[in-house]
Each structure stands twice: as C-alpha cells, then as structure tokens.
C-alpha cells in the first residue's frame, strides 16, 4: 500500500514537471501571445501600411541579408550596413534574432539602424526577439513580422514574403495567408523569395529547432507547386545552401560579434537571373 502511494506521488510529480513546461510566465522562455495572435496583430499593421514596392531603374539590383546579430554589441552590424550602403543595395533584410529581446537591447539596435530614407529595411522576428516579452518591443518599433514587399525593375517584378517563425511554427493564420499569396499572386511575379528566421533543415546535430516534419512537408509542397525560388533563413548560426525540389534553401552565418564565423548574404538579381554569395566578415 505504501509502495502504491509512493508510485502515485511520483506519477503526479512527473506530470507536474512535464506540463509545467507549457506554462506561460515572465521568464526567458515566456510567450505572452500565440503565433496566431501575433500574426493577427501584424495583419492589423499591414492594413494601415500597404506593401512596399521598391522601384529600381536597372535590371541589376542587390538585397543585403543578415540574421542573428544578437545585439548587445553592434560592431558587425555597423560593418554590414556600411557595406550595404556602399554597394548601393536596394534594400536590407534582417531575418530575426536581431537582439536578446530585452528593451535595452532593442534601444541599442534601433540606434544603429540607418534611417528609412537612406535604405529600406525589412525585419522579421526570431525566437530571441520574443524573449523577455520582446514581441511588444519588436511590434512597437518595427511593426509587422508577416508581410510582403516587391522589387520592380524595367523587365519584371520580384516578390519577397517575410514570415514570423519565431515560435517554431507558422500557425494556422499565417499558413493560410502564405498559401493564399502563393496560390493567387505568385504568378504575377518573376522571382519569389521567402524570408524566415528558422531554417527548415538541420544544419547542426541535436541543437536545431526546425519546424515539425508535418509542417516542413506542407511548406515544401507549397513552395514546389508555386515555384518559390529561394528561402533565406538564419537561426542555426552556420551557413548552409541546398537545393531541394525547385527551391534553394539558404541558411546564413550569424552577424553576432562574438561569433567565430560572422557573415551575411548578398542576393543579386541581374538580367532576370538570381545570383548570391555568402560574405564572411574578418577583423
């Protein structure tokens, strides 16, 4: 009888420990909103701010992309923006984990961004940006994390879709929006590039938090059927480049100052073709 009591107690303790992981509090791991409610908030922002169209006068343009700056410090971030401005980039894409999620780090990050007049900047949230209730900081300062923008050249327009994967899943609302865009608008554009923070496929062993296989399946099918040319992501802190189906899956090196392999990614559309290169920053 005593043994049975002990086992029941152990069972309850195990249950509490396991399900306690789902609780939402104010800690490092806390999420004060579900992905669906964040996306709804992003859509509200999109209603007031129509999708940006960047018009370039040439058929040759560049987009500078980075992720995982994890501000704190901003040495590499400053180098990145200098390089983007010097090369005449048409836009900059910041693919998540821009800071730690703390308000003070959001302030530092904000101070080191060029003004919107000098170069258009497109940001998506990463998992670290949400820590310490960071979403409210992200949304207040930068707005939506689920949106699209286009680049119009003399010979055609290209579509860029930015997604919020900071919780490890797109959620139902965002997936429905993405499906709608790809199924109904993709054909109006020459190239289609999707930007997420989370990479889809494992780069490193036992550390990746990639989407679940069920979600990857749905997204790969959607990308293949709608001919998405490229997915640009970060998250794993190690560059990777693989073609699966008709889509090239890019993972960028982190821009974080303390990284042993800091870098960024440059996408170039020239004469109707997409070209790209990984850039390593060395001191």
């Amino acid at each position: 009888m005593e043994l049975l009591k002990y086992n029941r107690l152990s069972f309850l303790v195990a249950a509490v420990i396991i399900f306690a992981g789902c609780s939402k509090d104010d800690s490092y791991f806390s999420l004060n909103q579900s992905v669906d409610s964040r996306v709804e908030q992003s859509f509200g922002w999109n209603d007031k701010h129509p999708a940006t169209e960047i018009v370039v006068n040439s058929d040759d343009y560049k987009i500078f992309c980075m992720s995982d700056s994890h501000v704190g410090t901003t040495v590499n971030l400053d180098k990145f923006f200098n390089a983007a401005e010097k090369s005449g980039a048409s836009a900059v894409v910041m693919a998540g984990d821009l800071c730690s999620g703390r308000e003070s780090d959001y302030e530092v990050l904000n101070k080191h961004l060029p003004s919107g007049d000098s170069i258009p900047i497109f940001k998506v949230a990463g998992n670290h940006d949400l820590h310490y209730e960071g979403w409210s900081q992200f949304f207040t300062r930068f707005g939506s994390s689920t949106y699209m923008f286009t680049v119009k050249t003399p010979s055609g327009s290209d579509l860029f879709i930015c997604l919020d994967t900071s919780e490890g899943t797109l959620g139902k609302v965002q997936l429905s929006w993405l499906s709608n865009i790809l199924n109904n608008q993709r054909q109006n554009y020459r190239h289609c590039i999707v930007v997420t923070h989370n990479n889809f496929f494992r780069v490193k062993q036992a550390e990746s938090t990639n989407p679940l296989i069920e979600e990857i399946t749905v997204l790969v099918e959607l990308f293949t059927k709608n001919h998405v040319d490229m997915l640009i992501s970060g998250h794993d802190h190690r560059s990777d480049d693989r073609l699966f189906g008709v889509t090239r899956y890019i993972v960028m090196d982190p821009l974080e100052d303390s990284s042993g392999n800091p870098g960024y990614f440059v996408l170039r559309a020239a004469d109707g073709n997409l070209e790209y290169r990984f850039v390593t920053i060395t001191n």
Partner: protein
Amino acid sequence: MAINPTEPKIITMTNSFSKKGRSTFIHGMLIVLLCWIFSLNLPGQSSLKTYVEFGENNVSPGLYMLPSAIMDLKLGKYTVGAGIQSELENFNKFLLSGFSINAERSFSIKETLFGIKGFYVLKGLSEIIHEANIGGLIEMKLHHFDMILGTNFRTISFTKKAVKEFRIENYATDLKEAFNMIYSFEFSLRPVGNPWNLCLSITDIDDFLFNQETNPILKFGGYSRVSKKMRIDASISYKMAGITNIAFGYFGYTLKTGITWNF
C-alpha cells in the same frame, strides 16, 4: 574591414527511395498478412495491434484520421514485426500512407529487461513527398519506467511523378538527415504486467512518426486488459513546436485508441 566573398556550395544527393513508392506499400501489406498467417502455425507468440489515430494540428486542414495495424511475432528472445498505416482522406477515401518493419532482440542484465531494435519505416507525407527512416534503438524496461534511446536516419524524397511534373534536377530530389536522436521516457503508475495502467511519457517518436528531438511530444495514456487475449489502449498526445532556445508553442494534438490481440 575585410570582406571575403565565398563561393556557395551545392550539396548533391542521391535518389535512393523515390522509385519504390507504391510497390513498397503493397509489399508491406503482404508482409503483414503473411506474418499473421504464419503466426497461426508457429510455436512463438504473436500479437496484432490495431488502432485509429485522430488528430488536428497547425497544418492539417481539419481533423485527420490514421488507422494502423502492426503485427509482431515473438520467437524466444527475438521479435519481428511489420506494420501499415493508412490515411482516411476527407473521410471518404483510404490511402496507404505508411509501412514499417522491425526486428528486436531482448536480453536481461540482472533483473532489468533490455531490447535492441532495428527498424525501417516508409511514410507518404503528401502526394509529392515521402520519407524513409532507418535506425536503431535500445530500450530499458523497469517496473514503472520504460526508457528508449536511439538514432534514425531520415531521407525525404520527391515522388517520381513530382520529379517529372516539376522538372526537379536529379541532384535535388532527396534530402538526408543523419543521426537524429530518438528518445522516450515513460512512467507507469502500476508495474508492468498489471491488468491496467496509466502512463505518462515524453518522446519524439511514434510508430510511423519521427520528430527531431527538439520537437517533443507529451503523451498521457493507459490500457486495460479485458481478457487474456485482448487489451484496449488509449492515449492523448500534445505536440510542441520548438523547445530549448525557442519558447514552447502549440502545434497539435492526437487521440489514439485501439485493441491489441495476442494469439
């Protein structure tokens, strides 16, 4: 500042499973049937587990239903098994969606039971993609705890039809993940062998599903042995999207119920 542009590398992969598709499912069905027929005449013990899984998740269009059957044949310390899973599409059309084979050798150290198992699982993920998982695991069975550790190698492939339809280059048809970690930690309220039990577990696998270790499944279930030959099982699972450096997010749930027959 020095900037060193690097040339991108292209990872080429071989197409190893995509040609097998439909015929493998048919072979799977035949193996399960043959196991059952042979088990009627063999001296070993055999069991047939049939169950239905209902579920809903962030990417399912609604409630889905996956009926499955797994046949095991035990000969002394060895167990061989095969299973099939089907999918009820829109609740009006059954499609074969999964096939598995496995072999296990059990042994004991002092009073603790162990099992070493190898498996191969082929699963149709969608009309254009399927995955194959091959791997091995070791299981330790105590009175109240059951622990599994292992590894699997995943290959996600486009079907032959998709390769042709979408003009996919032959080096871009497959994608491999090596050495994914398999784990299951299960606690049972009553000791193994009890006529009924309640179990709580955390795992990244199911019979036909292999998640990455960072996407765990919480499971609560139980069983009741209604006769010497029949056992009823039921469980509910909560699937999480992301853990470790990602906050816990909801992905989906499954409800599973079935019957195990011992022959």
